[in-house]
C-alpha cells in the first residue's frame, strides 16, 4: 500500500516538475516567445479546442464579412 502512495507522490512531483521546467526550456525558442507575446497581447487562449471556445473566431468572421461585403457593393 505504501508503494502505491509513493508512486502517486512521485507522479505528482513529475507533473509539477514538467509544469514549471518545460516552459522555461521552450522560452529559449524565439518563435515560441513571440507566439506567447502575441497571444498575451490579443488575449488568445492557446489551449481552446473548438471554435466556440475562442473569441477570435467570431472577430475574424466579422472582419472577413465586412471585407468581402465591400467587394459586393
Amino acid at each position: 500500500m505504501m508503494m502505491r502512495w509513493l508512486k502517486l507522490l512521485l507522479s505528482l512531483i513529475a507533473v509539477l516538475g514538467f509544469m514549471f521546467t518545460f516552459p522555461l526550456l521552450l522560452q529559449q525558442l524565439d518563435a515560441y516567445e513571440q507566439i506567447i507575446q502575441h497571444s498575451e497581447e490579443l488575449e488568445i487562449d492557446n489551449s481552446s479546442l473548438f471554435y466556440s471556445e475562442e473569441m477570435w473566431t467570431s472577430r475574424a468572421e466579422s472582419r472577413l464579412k465586412i471585407q468581402l461585403g465591400e467587394r459586393r457593393k
Binding site: I35, T57, L64, L68
Partner: protein
C-alpha cells in the same frame, strides 16, 4: 439493475438520456437567451442598429463607433440572467505562480493619481461626445482624437485596477446542480441516486483540478488543455492507488461524452461554412474528407492496424479538428477508451509542435499571409493553437486561419454521422449477410440523432433569426455563453472517467509497434501537402480577387 427490465429502453439507455438531457439544457438555453434575453436587450439592439445604419454613410462619426461598440456588448451572455449563468459555469481562472489566483482574486481599485487621470480622460471624452452630439459641430470633432482618448482610458483602467473574482461558490453550485440532474438519468439507468451523486462529487472534484492545472499560464500558452490534464490525473490515480470504489458509480464516460456531444451539435451552425466563400469550402470541406478517407485506408491496407476504431479515431482527429473530432468519432464507432486516449494524446503533442514550427517556417520562406493562414487553419488541430499561430503571422493570417478552422469544425457533424452509419452498415457486418433496416437501427448510436438534430435546429434558428439577434442571442448567448461551457465540463468529466478506467498496460498495448504514431505522422504529412496545394490553387489561381480583398 433489476429495475431496468421493467423500464423502456428510452429510460435505460445512456444514448437516449444524452438526448433528453442535451435537449433539456438546450431548451433552457433557448428560454434564457432567445426569450428572456431578447426581452431585455431586443429594443436596445434595434436602436443601436438604427444609429449604425443612419450613420453608415460617413462611417466616421463618434455615434457610429459608440453604436457599434454597443452592438458588440449587447449579447445574451451580458444580460442579467446570462451573467449569472456565466458565473455558474465559470472555471478556475488563469494563474502563474500563485495557485490561489485561480479561485480567488480581490478587486483592486486604481490609486489616487490613476483615478484623477481616469476622471480627466473621461471628462475629455464627454466633451468630445457633447460636441459631436450637436449636429453642426459633428464635422469639426476629430474622431481620431476621441478613439485615441478612449483607448488610453481603457488601457489605464486595465493597468491600474484588477477585477476580482471568487470561483468557489459557482463551482460548488455547479457540482450540486450537475450531480442532481445527472443523478436522475443514472437512477433510471439502474444506479442508486444517492450513491451516484456522492460519487459524482469525487469525479467533479478531479475535473475542477484538471481545469485548475489547465489554467496555469505557461501550460495554457503551450496549448495543454483540460482534456490532457483530466486524462493524466485519472491515469495517475488509477495506476497508482487505484480508482476509489466509492467513485465508480459516477465513472460514466459515455454518459457525459454523449450528452456533451448533443450540446456540441448546437455549436455546429451550417451557415458558418460560407464565412469566406468558396475558397474556404474547398480548403476545409474537400481536403478534410479526402485526407480522412486516405489516412484510414493507409492505416488498414499499408500499416495493417489491428483496430479499425483506433484507425478511424486517429484519422478523424488528425484530419478534422483534433480532440472534438476524436471524441465525436470515437463515440460514433464505439471506440475503446484507450484508443480515444491515444488519439487525444497524439493530437495535443503535435498541436503544440505545429503551433511553434509552422508560423516560424512560413515566415522563414516568406509565404504570403493569406496562404499561410489558410494552411495553418486547415492543418493544426486545435482552434486556440490555430489562432495563436495565425496571429504570429499577422492580422490577415489570423482572420483566414481562424475562419478556415471554424468551417472545418462544422464538418464534424457529418463525419460523426458518416462514421456511425458506415460502422452500423459495413464494419459490424459479419460475412456476406445483408443487414436489414431494423438491425442497422439497432446498431446505430442513437445519440448521433440528438447531435445532428441540435445542429439542424440551431442552424435553422440562426439562419431565420434577424442577423444581429442571431449574433447576440444564439452565437454569443446560447452557444458561447452557455452550451460550450457546459459541454466543456461534461467532456472534462468524461476524460477524468477515461483516465480512471484505463490501465497503462492496455494503453501500451495499443501503442505497440508505434503504428498509431506512424499513422498520425503520415496522415498529417499528406494533410500538410494537400492543404497547401488546395489553399494555393483556391486563393491565388481560382479566386485571386477574394485574396486581394482580405490580405
Amino acid at each position: 439493475m433489476a429495475l431496468n427490465k421493467k423500464r423502456s429502453i428510452f429510460l435505460t439507455s445512456e444514448d437516449y438520456w444524452a438526448i433528453w438531457l442535451g435537449s433539456f439544457f438546450l431548451l433552457a438555453g433557448i428560454v434564457v437567451y432567445l426569450v428572456v434575453g431578447r426581452a431585455e436587450f431586443g429594443d436596445k439592439i434595434t436602436q443601436a442598429e438604427q444609429i449604425v445604419s443612419q450613420e453608415s454613410k460617413s462611417k466616421n462619426s463618434i455615434s457610429w463607433y459608440k453604436a457599434n461598440e454597443q452592438l458588440e456588448k449587447l449579447t445574451g451572455s451580458n444580460t442579467s440572467l446570462g451573467k449569472e449563468i456565466k458565473k455558474l459555469f465559470s472555471r478556475p481562472k488563469s494563474w502563474k505562480y500563485n495557485p490561489v489566483d485561480a479561485f480567488y482574486k480581490p478587486t483592486v481599485e486604481p490609486d489616487e493619481s490613476a483615478k484623477s487621470k481616469i476622471v480627466e480622460l473621461e471628462r475629455k471624452l464627454a466633451d468630445l461626445e457633447a460636441k459631436a452630439a450637436m449636429k453642426e459641430s459633428e464635422q469639426t470633432v476629430d474622431v481620431d482624437t476621441w478613439l485615441a482618448t478612449k483607448a488610453e482610458l481603457e488601457k489605464l483602467a486595465k493597468e491600474t485596477s484588477q477585477k476580482g473574482h471568487s470561483a468557489i461558490p459557482g463551482l460548488v453550485m455547479l457540482g450540486v446542480v450537475l450531480a442532481m440532474i445527472f443523478g436522475v438519468g443514472a437512477y433510471f439507468m439502474g444506479f442508486k441516486y444517492f450513491k451516484f451523486t456522492v460519487a459524482f462529487f469525487g469525479v467533479f472534484a478531479l475535473a475542477v483540478i484538471s481545469y485548475f492545472l489547465a489554467a496555469q499560464v505557461d501550460m495554457k500558452n503551450l496549448g495543454v488543455s483540460y482534456a490532457v490534464w483530466a486524462i493524466l490525473i485519472g491515469l495517475i490515480i488509477s495506476n497508482t492507488i487505484g480508482s476509489p470504489s466509492w467513485m465508480k458509480p459516477a465513472i460514466q464516460t459515455e454518459y457525459y461524452i454523449k450528452t456533451g456531444l448533443v450540446l456540441l451539435g448546437a455549436e455546429i451552425l451550417l451557415s458558418k461554412i460560407m464565412a469566406i466563400g468558396l475558397p474556404g469550402i474547398f480548403v476545409s470541406w474537400v481536403v478534410t474528407p479526402v485526407v480522412l478517407v486516405l489516412t484510414f485506408w493507409f492505416g488498414q491496407k499499408v500499416l495493417k492496424i489491428g483496430s479499425k476504431t483506433l484507425n478511424i479515431t486517429i484519422s478523424a482527429d488528425m484530419s478534422v479538428c483534433g480532440v472534438s473530432a476524436a471524441i465525436a468519432t470515437a463515440a460514433a464507432c464505439n471506440a475503446k477508451k484507450e484508443e480515444l486516449t491515444l488519439a487525444v494524446g497524439l493530437s495535443m503533442v503535435f498541436t503544440s509542435i505545429m503551433m511553434i514550427v509552422m508560423p516560424a517556417f512560413i515566415n522563414a520562406v516568406g509565404m504570403p499571409e493569406v496562404l499561410g493562414g489558410a494552411w495553418i487553419g486547415g492543418t493544426i488541430d486545435a482552434t486556440g493553437a490555430v489562432v495563436a499561430a495565425g496571429a504570429f503571422l499577422g492580422d490577415s493570417a489570423l482572420n483566414v486561419a481562424a475562419t478556415i478552422k471554424m468551417i472545418q469544425n462544422v464538418l464534424i457533424g457529418l463525419i460523426a454521422f458518416g462514421v456511425a452509419f458506415y460502422w452500423a452498415t459495413k464494419v459490424e457486418q459479419t460475412g456476406n449477410v445483408r443487414v436489414g433496416a431494423s438491425e442497422i437501427w439497432r446498431r446505430f448510436p442513437k445519440f448521433i440523432l440528438g447531435f445532428l438534430g441540435a445542429s439542424i435546429i440551431f442552424s435553422l434558428l440562426y439562419y431565420f433569426t434577424h442577423p444581429q439577434f442571431s449574433y447576440a442571442f444564439i452565437d454569443h448567448g446560447i452557444i458561447r455563453g452557455f452550451a460550450k461551457d457546459l459541454r466543456g465540463w461534461l467532456f472534462c468529466l468524461a476524460f477524468v472517467s477515461i483516465g480512471l478506467s484505463v490501465n497503462f498496460k492496455e494503453l501500451k498495448h495499443q501503442f505497440s509497434g508505434g503504428k498509431p504514431l506512424i499513422l498520425y505522422v503520415c496522415g498529417q504529412s499528406f494533410n500538410l501537402m494537400f492543404t497547401l496545394l488546395m489553399a494555393y490553387l483556391m486563393f491565388y489561381i481560382v479566386f485571386p480577387e477574394i485574396t486581394e480583398l482580405i490580405k
